[in-house]
Amino acid sequence: MKPTFLSDLQLLKAAALLALCALPAMAADLRPPATVQAGQAFSIPVQGSGGATFYLVGPDIVVKREVKLDSAVQVQAKEVRAAGRYQVILCDSGCTSASFEVKAAQPAHLSFFLHPSRVPVSTPNSIDATAFVFDQYYNLVLAPSTVDFKITPASGAAFSRQVPTKRGVAWLRTDSTRNEGRVQVTAIDGNVQEARVVQQVAAEACGLRVRALPSGKTVTLETDPVRDCSGNALPDGTVVSFTTVDRDGKSTVDTPLKKGIAKTQVSIHGPAQVTVACGVVVGNEVSLSGKL
């Protein structure tokens, strides 16, 4: 009998067939979308037959359920609310996995802070506003958007600054305005807004003046209304120091402002010099002859 020999091609086919038989059954193919918006349901096409176990592992969720491979796997909106990377795993005879990213939805919340809570008037770069932009599920919105910071002083015209977000954050540094009082800063991103208030207070005293009024054996020392350089009255309670230097030496009296004025009575012995100070500001000097 004539011997038969397999050709190279036939050998190759036979080897491939054997190799396929030797392999375990392959898991179904899993192809999720690369990115999904937070809170939006979607489906993942699968290829295979029969049933399998589906796993969804995300930042705040782990789902395990049995699925049929003849239809797409449905992922519910509530299962993908947190932004971040999710892993999907499908196991039948073997397991296959894939991942996708959930991105934040539209801006829905602003985490806004304003610093400081009190600031002197007319101070450069003294107010800082920072806004973090979050979606309705409190995911940081990394997609660029613009935050409009609207600044409304107690008196004077309101103004605003538009600041683009970078990695979900917008911040602004601005000067305090000239007038004391409440300044409202509102951060606005689309339909979302948050307001905070900073209290502007008078700055250091300006043009501090003292008068000496003899009355009997004492002298009444009284300031003019104490104001800053923008004309804002310093708040009552601000301490004013009167210093007298006379024959008996040097003495200082600290007096709080009342109705914008500091007033005290001192006894002097002989010729005296009276000075006044408020914070870092020194006022005028008054000379007294000592003949009261």
């Binding site: 592992v57 930042p59 782990v62 990377r85 892993q87 940081l140 990394l142 979900g168």
Partner: protein
């Protein structure tokens, strides 16, 4: 898991760098806590609008490393105890929710942490928040019970928000983002 065998040496290394870079730039600070916390490098060069302080840099590195140590433990053992030491706010809530779901499904994760490169990108002027980008080298194995479902060994990138507490910095938000983003 990578760790530094001599934490005090690492601290000295950081301090030297902080002092050397008087312009408030931290080129690379590294610290490892104990034997199980991952290695964390912090780069705060060009940080705005507020420069970082030496103590803040050291504290951030320490507590971020501890956060990942405790996170890995929690995901593996499905336990939430201890997460409140380093996590707060959304990050803590989400982790607690996830671990609860892991417990219900029988899933757990084993994380082999090969280290983190932190880049500080925003530090608010009042010092109340810092945003960082973490490029992490993680090997993550997903199990259902004792059955290994999947192994991932790819770089991960996280957007991190940290806020200060009384004596530490907390991870307030931790979102994994696609590494291809040009932050």
């Amino acid at each position: 898991m990578k760790s530094t065998t001599n934490p005090s040496a690492a601290l000295t290394k950081i301090s030297g760098r902080f002092f050397k870079l008087a312009s408030f730039v931290i080129a690379a600070a590294a610290l490892a806590i104990g034997q199980s916390a991952p290695e964390v490098h912090l780069d705060a060069e060009g940080l705005a609008p507020r420069p970082i302080e030496e103590l803040t840099g050291t504290t951030i590195v320490r507590y971020y490393a501890q956060a990942w140590r405790d996170l890995a433990t929690a995901l593996d053992a499905n336990r939430t105890e201890g997460l409140g030491e380093e996590f707060t706010g959304f990050a803590k809530d989400r982790l607690a929710k996830r671990i609860s779901a892991q417990t219900k499904t029988g899933v757990h994760l084993h994380v082999v942490d090969h280290g983190h490169r932190l880049k500080a990108v925003f530090y608010s002027t009042d010092g109340s928040a810092m945003q960082l980008i973490d490029q992490a080298q993680l090997e993550i194995q997903t199990f259902d019970g004792s059955k290994l479902l999947d192994t991932q060994n790819v770089p991960h990138e996280y957007m991190v928000l940290m806020t200060p507490g009384a004596d530490r910095w907390y991870v307030r938000d931790l979102e994994e983002v696609s590494a291809a983003k040009s932050f």
